[in-house]
Assembly symmetry: D2
């Protein structure tokens, strides 16, 4: 059962019934860590740069020189937060770094990671990708025992669990015990002055890979594209339920839960949308998965048309797959402005410019008078998609057929992807014909769950498809769930 924060406030608080800071409910972030290289902070900078698509809100690096941890975090991209001077001040052969995904309302420097604290273990720095389940309840329990919270992140909660005295007594065993009690999605890197520790939850919700950096060093990253950039060699995934200790004695792998509790449940949305196409994620090359998604989509949802085009860039690979399987020519009908993503003034109604226009422009000769198939990776709220479809109509498309390389997104994610509430999900309570009408399309076709799973190399039960199927492996009381705003009405 997932407790909403406010439900836990019936008891008297002194001196006032405080309204606590909102806990952040989801985080989709990028992690990078390295051990045993000449300039760990610089390598981490490049690693984070390759993972920037996983989070643009804040960036941070903590480095150990063997005795002390120094860190720097800031709001913004890694290229905005760090320069040669900042990196030069972070000396040492071990480092961890984090890029953070921005969710409205909690965009504050204090929530930026790595979180570096002083506790009975000494100094410790932590970066985290994922979302804990029951976090609010645990947090309340900690507070009831006198703990204080500076941030609204799950990461701080994890640190509290690691710092608990019973764990301290028992060294590494204590850490494993603390991790074993965490529920939900967590790929973690811990840095102590002498050790780099990599952890992945027993379901392996979020990705985490291990590589060799140079001859003697090790690198850990959310995706292999980060290893590629720093010329580290991909070794393998960190296994679900595995904890890696990397220190002067080399690398040591252990389990922090019994094998019976290890049940891989990888987030397919990483394959569909989130990861970079040049990354290997959960053992598959993302670009190839997407090509297969497109092929399967063409088979399941054929339609007669003149051209296949993608919503760039996330739909590119699937569109190529669709074109190949259907035999309809692939073309570029929408061009992406390369400067998208930078700070931008908000267009006003009188500007007659919309957020959609700012990102993409249609290529008239490809679209005008044509029957176009538009391949997109997914549809969340549908408003952006509708804007694009209107742009294509304005440009003169004769027919517009949208093909989506995943099933309808109907359910929230409790394991780290920040979907809107069900009420805002286009497909939550609409059937396909209603979606088609909403989007003003001639037709729409989604890939089936089976078509999706058959595009992946692992057995179907190893993937989490909860956002499409509603089957959550970690039990969630959906009526409470995270949707406080709903219950409040």
């Amino acid at each position: 059962m997932l407790h909403g924060r406010s439900s836990l406030y019936p008891y008297e608080r002194f001196p006032s019934k405080g309204t606590p800071v909102r806990r952040e409910l989801s985080e989709s972030c990028g992690l990078f860590g390295v051990y045993g290289v000449r300039n760990a902070a610089r390598m981490t900078y490049f690693g984070l740069y390759a993972l920037q698509h996983r989070g643009e809100e804040a960036s941070g690096i903590a480095v150990s020189d063997g005795k002390t941890i120094h860190s720097h975090v800031g709001m913004g991209l890694v290229t905005e937060v760090f320069d040669d001077l900042r990196l030069g001040a972070l000396k040492g052969p071990v480092a961890i770094g984090h890029v953070r995904y921005g969710t409205a309302g909690a965009s504050e420097i204090r929530n930026a990671q790595p979180l570096v604290v002083d506790c009975s273990r000494g100094q410790i720095a932590v970066v985290h990708n994922g979302t804990l389940v029951e976090a609010d309840a645990i947090r309340d329990e900690f507070e009831a025992h006198g703990s204080i919270f500076h941030t609204t992140t799950d990461t701080e909660l994890i640190v509290h669990m690691l710092a608990r005295p019973n764990h301290v007594m028992s060294g590494e065993r204590g850490i494993k015990q603390a991790l074993a009690s965490l529920k939900g999605a967590f790929s973690l890197l811990l840095l102590t002055p002498e050790q780099l520790i990599a952890v992945r939850d027993p379901h392996g919700f979020r990705p985490l890979v291990l590589g060799r950096a140079g001859r003697k060093g090790w690198a850990v990253a959310s995706e292999t594209c980060a290893l590629d950039l720093v010329k580290a060699h991909y070794v393998r995934e960190v296994q679900p339920g595995e904890i890696l200790f990397i220190d002067a004695n080399g690398l040591r792998s252990e389990r922090f839960v019994g094998e019976e509790r290890v049940r891989p449940h990888h987030c397919v949305f990483e394959q569909v949308y989130f990861a970079r196409p040049d990354s290997i994620v959960f053992g598959d090359m993302v670009h190839e998965v997407r090509i297969r998604l497109g092929r399967n989509l063409a088979r399941e949802q054929p339609v007669e048309a003149d051209v296949v085009m993608s919503v760039p860039d996330s739909g590119n690979s699937a569109a190529i797959g669709y074109a190949r399987a259907s035999g309809i020519p692939y073309d570029r009908g929408l061009i992406r402005n390369h400067y998208v993503g930078r700070t931008f003034i908000n267009p006003r109604p009188e500007d007659r410019v919309t957020g959609v226009d700012v990102k993409l422009n249609a290529v008239k000769t490809v679209v005008k008078g044509r029957r176009v198939i538009v391949v997109d990776d997914s549809i969340i709220r549908g408003t952006t998609s509708r804007g694009r479809i209107r742009m294509l109509r304005r440009t003169g498309a004769r027919e517009i057929h949208m093909r989506v390389s995943c099933p309808p997104t109907r359910f929230p994610c409790f394991y780290g992807i920040d979907f809107p509430t069900p009420g805002e999900l286009l497909a939550a309570d609409r059937d396909v014909s209603q979606i088609r009408d909403f989007l003003e399309l001639d037709s729409i076709g989604y890939l089936s769950v089976e078509g999706l799973l058959s595009s992946l190399s692992g057995p179907p039960e190893n993937y989490c498809t909860a956002c499409w199927s509603g089957d959550y492996i970690v039990p969630i009381d959906r009526h409470l769930g995270r949707f406080r705003s709903r219950r409040k009405k």
Copy 2:
């Protein structure tokens, strides 16, 4: 004949023989202007945003409220230089804007445009795309008559010519006379408190298009993609040798040179590389031109291979054309990091990360063990290309065949593209087999000049191909040329 600056300094200067500031020799920029809309500065902001690829160094907007010109310029992207506050301070229904291409050494705020000055005509603001020929000589002549120069831009020279008293006397005739005496490439927008003036040189080297903005307004832009974003409707190109006066009396078109001097000579490099694929330039849709370039390239330079891929994003359209004509499947073998172009620390040798790696990463499954055709738009120095080819080799490509959608770039541009000196151009003194060896390729094939020109809808004589053919329509003394550093040795 083009004079280098230093050759003109034999005479004594008092009190010392000054070493003057280096004049900037080339500018490839983006222009946008609008007349008769509610908030001209905001519309110009969006227009410049769509043209940002034409220059990232500096951005500026000047606006007239009918009486006075106000302006703001700054270093950086238009999204960095302007915010709601800055735009709100620029009130009025007429505006011009500029994005500036950065060339090393003269990256200073004082060279940013619009240039706004006070002269006998009153206030005048100017933005310029192109390069004047014989600019140094004219500048020296002006200085000899007592003029002072604050910047190193051609733009300031143009203003001096416009401000000359003989021109003042004769009103619009004077302006036309001044323009008629300019040699070289110039697409210009002039803003006075009451008038927007658009000018294109008699050869039409650089693009400039006219559109309708709203029911009564007009917009002028370097490319149609800017018109698209602000919902202005493309009307036509500003003609070579044409001057448009837009004011309370509407739009009036005139010629500033006799028809006999109008000889279109459009820069094909705009089609090959510089313009956005979703723009109409010189009457052709750029994406379609590039598709045709790819098709012609496949016919002229066939090769057996497993996959056709592009160097993203500039090679994408040509690669699609190549794949279609050759029947070899198109795939994405190189993935572009979306954050490229932002301020970045300089990789050091010990980082083992190169500028090439930072921009692109190879997709292993597409490349490994395959014979790949890599389509690129052009090769300038060759060092970047070689880095990419090495990356593909490292990833395991069996054979690498590069196909380039234009002829070998051998000669400098004096009309606005900032190529390096001939000594640095890979193809300047290498034949194709030497280029292949330099790039460590299995084969290389360039498109012919004929194949290039046949991809365009205009008659061949209407295009400038000087950088490939060495035929300059505006006479250049190549031995002097712009290469002072050479002569100095």
Copy 3:
């Protein structure tokens, strides 16, 4: 006994023996709080502005709208950290603010105050002026029980004590119990969503005054000059050992220690140097106290001379007192550069400019050929004083007699003033003639402790003179003390 941090680290830490972040050992800061006004954040801004001399490193404000606490902190002066936008975002009728004194090495944003946390009491914000004794030991104890520390401030320790569950159970009694267990100097303001709480330690080391703001509101500040600026009316000091609860029920005063533990021991250094002359501190007008210090100094340390001048601005009042009592004319022999205190490049030896020159310049006509008496408030290291004396010699002073309006500063402060270590204190192991020689003076004269105490209106036993006498009311194990660097050698 005061523990240095490192002495407490003999035991094993897991997974590594961490070197913890250095705890900050002293803080001399400014506090301002207000309850029940229209725009509490803006009033706090002005209050802090008047207290800026108490700390220039960081500034922060937390405000409650009755339900939630919002805050903003930043490095730098209050005028640098806040603008209209920032203040406008801090809405509500209750606020507390802090200006922080910078001590080398821990100048980090995370140490800035108010510290705002979420604990079992709900949200709480705290600002603190003073230094706790035995803080390291308490901190270690907390860590041993599982607490984690994000900052190196005493303030965080105070919050941990307030958050302890046994205190929570008992409401306000719990807070008082927690405060009663604190040792050392602490003037505190606590903000909960509904209450403003002001606290002063039983010795009243650091100042804290209460005022009326408007008809119904209350203001609390370190010095009365802050009340003056916001037009609040000075009511009285917050009493040593007093806790004020200010909420919807009005103001309520309580004691958090028994009367027997209340022993006023005000820091005289506030009178001598730290406070603004226009403030009432410990019941005395600071300017008048300093005039009396100067008068007593003239009686105790007379000397024949031509002119009395001060080291501006801290010596101004005492110099006037000295001049009046001695009959020797007062003049301005040193002029202060008004721009001192701003970021400044560090003069290098080859610049032939020193930090002393940058701050003050001598007035030739006042100094040249004259016998001058220079009145300063105190001498700490002596190097700055020597620089000034050399400047006066260079300007042509015939004789230089320094008169200091307090006794020789010989001992460290454990209650909130950041003196250097004894080894760096000029007077720690020098007698007066050695000091005179070191400073290259003709004579030097210090005020006696008796002369100092007789300048104050309270009974002598109510003041702390430890930095001059070595008598510490709160027991300190001086051999451990705070001087780790010493012991380490």
Copy 4:
């Protein structure tokens, strides 16, 4: 006759009747130049730092390495515009620098100095303190001949005059001829790649002094306090009508006007208010002049009272003089906030905080129940003074007698001080009793012109007292004057 800009625009302008940028009418700035030292830019930084009180709006330095001039300017204080990096990039043994006084409306980077241009003389950099008379007319004449203006400063006009070809032909003679044709107030430094030139107008309105820097170098500065800081030795004033050429051949002094045109007319306001008290200006130590002003004021305007206090810091010296002559004790009744002058949010009416409160606070014990004499250097608009007097009343002053150490300021300055228009000058059309009533005083007393002039060591005719007497040495048509806004009504 001084022409307002708009009066000169009756003729038709083409293509529109432009409203030109407003020319700036007054500048009170600080100059520093140095020749022949190791690091000229750093020394100039320190020199400007000492002169910062002469202008806070913008700062700039130009340096020559013997061949090329490099420069950097920015908005703000010298400490804000320059850091080690910026200074390190300005290499060379010769430099000039400028601090600029901000006047509303023209606070733009392009108006910052040094102005560095390229003309027929080669590169030239100029800094200027003063105001030209008839500048608008000359500017119009230049424009009519084709010149263009980038800024609204007199400085640019001076450069145009220096660049005129007839001057160029004749070398140094040409420069002198150009200077001879300038009318108004101008202290100038010119920098060419090889030469530092210092110029002072024939009336010597604004100060300029010469010093020796090190054994072989020279320094030039607006005030001697800048020489003191860089350890340069004061040699003498640059004489009215003198031009100093400093180059590899040493220092050479010449006249640029015949002796009959040299009529010293130093600005007394420098002595009264503008200069630093530790400077020697026009041969007098400023502090001593102010002491004498205070003495004379006490003799001319005696009053019975308990205490003499100043408005700090500009009134400090005169208050000491008044106290000495009157025998009434000097005390500090108003305390200045040291942080005044920094960016500050604008107090709003509801804040109940005024700009006056922010700067000064009254010392209750000095003021309450007392008859106070408040000595101020001058009164311009009177609103600030009235605010202070109200503060003293609020604090409980029994009687308030203001004494002003100069005559009533009645007339505008055309030679470099930026007074408000006559309509805003308190004394322009009020007699002393009306002023007293406006300021809510018990009495007010001004120093007479005779009392003022007798405080100076030069003959009375050598000083400009136009702002008090209305006698302008350079003829001004007062009905046109600078007061366009008035005429427009």
